[in-house]
Amino acid sequence: MKKLLAGAAIALTTLAGIAQADGHANYPDRPIMLMVSYGAGGATDFQARIVTMTAGNDDALGMPIAIINKPGAGGRVGWNWLASQAEADGYTMGAYNIPHFIAQSVKGGVDYSAASFEPIANWGADPAVFVVAADSEFNSMADVVTWAKANPGKLTFSGAGLFVGHHIAALQIEKAAGVKMAYIPNKSGGSGAMKAVIAGDVMAGVNNLSDAFRARAAGTVKILGVADLERNSFMEDVPTMMEQGLNVDNASVNFRGVMVPKGTPQGVIDKLAAAVPAMFANSRVAGKMKAGGSPMHIMTRDEVLAMWAAREKTLKDLLAGL
């Protein structure tokens, strides 16, 4: 009954034009939906659920955020939906993965590009790491490169798909080492790619730092290198690719954050851009993220805009040769 009354009240206010008059002061007045373009239980989904768990608090948005999964084709299904079908009213947001969606739009065949979305804030940065099974003969990137040089095209290594962070890292490693290896994209994404490494279906793999951290804690894999500019605080003992003589920068680091479709009212974007980074910074969120082995990296809307532009340029150069 309360909801009915509330609904009637909202209808009346809208009719009276009050809502229009003072812009988006009432936003949000109902729950917000956050579309995740990967399956339930995946790294992006699981982190999205953690970072949005305090959305209903009064110091955050005051309304809960509901996660909805639209998985398929490395994220293309979900982002296509967000770009072309979602309502741009501020009640539909999407989780982004950089470099994935930008790389896919550079490659073509999708309905979106970086210009189709408006970033709100970034919550995490998950570098790609190079993993091998715990009983593998490889103990460093140098071992891998030596073997690959002796057996061109025969070193199989898995990753979450084509034109996602793992694939970018794979391309960079091959280019930096000057070797040809066999990248095997997995249709079940990161968890499938990790299974392929642990089970020995492939000889090595590129995977998320957060997942590899847990797998190493479980004793099933060794981590040979991080594709980032600096070592990661979750694993200070693992050297970067650069330290091992491979010229691989941070272009493949998987940045995760929240965006809205283009056309969302500016007032709503401003309001979200102010509230969401603070929501991510909540100490309960940070605690859960740390417990789950997921590196956080909070960035504001302006920082994300700059990061997107920089990534787009790098990826265009890198993928031009393909």
Partner: protein
Amino acid sequence: MEFLYYFDEVFTLWAFSMLLLGTVFGLILGATPGLSPTMAVALAIPFTFKMEPAHGLILLGALYTSTVAGGAVSAILLKIPGAPANIATTLDGHAMAKNGDGKRALQLSFLASLFGGVAGVLLLIFTTPILAKWALVFGPSESFWIAILGVTIIGTLGSTSVIKGLLAGCIGLWISTIGFDDILGTQRFIFHSSLAGGINIIPALIGLFAIPQVIAMFAKGRSHEDMEVLEIKPHPLRKAIREVASSRRALGIGTAVGSMIGLIPGVGGQIAGLVAYDQTRNFSPERTKFGTGHPEGIIAAEAANNAMVGPSLVPLLTLSIPGSPTAAVLLGGLIIHGIFPGPNIFRDYPQVVWPFINSMLIGQVLMCVFGLMIAGAAAHVARVPRSVMAAVVLALAVFGSYSVQLSMDDVFVMLILGTGMYFLERYGYSAAPLVLGLILGPIAEGNFVEGAMIAAAQNGIGTYFFTGTLNLTMIAIVVGSIAYSVWLELKNRQVGGV
């Protein structure tokens, strides 16, 4: 025997209330067409944020077990499987219910679930290290052959002729390719924008099974004759217990096949019931009676379904590899509480893992008790007038397919597939092979593509798919399964049967 020390953790007030809550809700959600176990578990995760890890996991585990069993209720009474796992249950379960023995079918199904479920959890408790190795043995080539084994079953499920069954299977396989190709991202057969997201299995399942039932109820018009959906005769529980206890073959094959196939990451859960059903039929002297309401059909399917639950957690708990969508969601639930699954999980987190596993044992018993109560109430459900039932099922089908990913497109696909299926059913085609095609398509294709890429880098496709003990064993089973069906078909023709 360490697990015995942790039973009292399950019987604390909080833990036991979680268990009860999870079981009752799981049965209700499972019995509601369109709410799959994956969804039920995913929806419950936010509630577990604030709980103690053990309590949260108990809730999730209870939900998982009981939604799988609850799916049998609508499969039997309405011929609408609650989840892909319950497809095999519709074949004989609904046939039996149509004969007036709905109560008996439900009792058999819950008793078989209890047996299979407990056996599965015991396997999880005692043989985890061995099972973990077995789960890893299945690489792309082996998983591909498992999918092909599933394909060989397609022709024999439910249709009036093997050809029509295979044809329906082909339509299902084709439908599974609609949308974006998972690896290359190429658009395939997207002739309408509603198909851009591909065909999601849950809305398809709801449509293919529920909508034909709804239209069939329309077809009776406003006549007063058999206004009720089903007639339900009373059936004493001890008779059902005796019946299940004496069906050793169905219980044995169901449990063995269910737990072995359920273990394989990415393949098992959805087809375990069907493979077990098919194998039990092959070994049964009353083979021809399957599909007409044979008790063994129900017992094998439901024993397999629930036997799968325990072992399907093995790759998750010991290797951190989620073998099914539901397991993936459970993994999220574990990680949120800071528990990293791995070979040492039993050493590092005994106070969480053992109560969780024990609660699944107790949960099986609770599930069976509540399930039998539902069986008792089934007569009331079946007394609902046809007109009301048609409207209820239609509304549930719409809400269920919409809620999977909040998409109207899924609802459109659901209604169109379902309407098409109604007409096809009238001409002797059946929904079960079509759905099986839809499930097996991505498994066969994905593993073939992955295997082919690995093979191209190594020794070539021939060597990769056709050597190795397990590959050859699987191929032998596939060939044997086809040969056996052909032989039976020929033998039946000679006798003059169909």
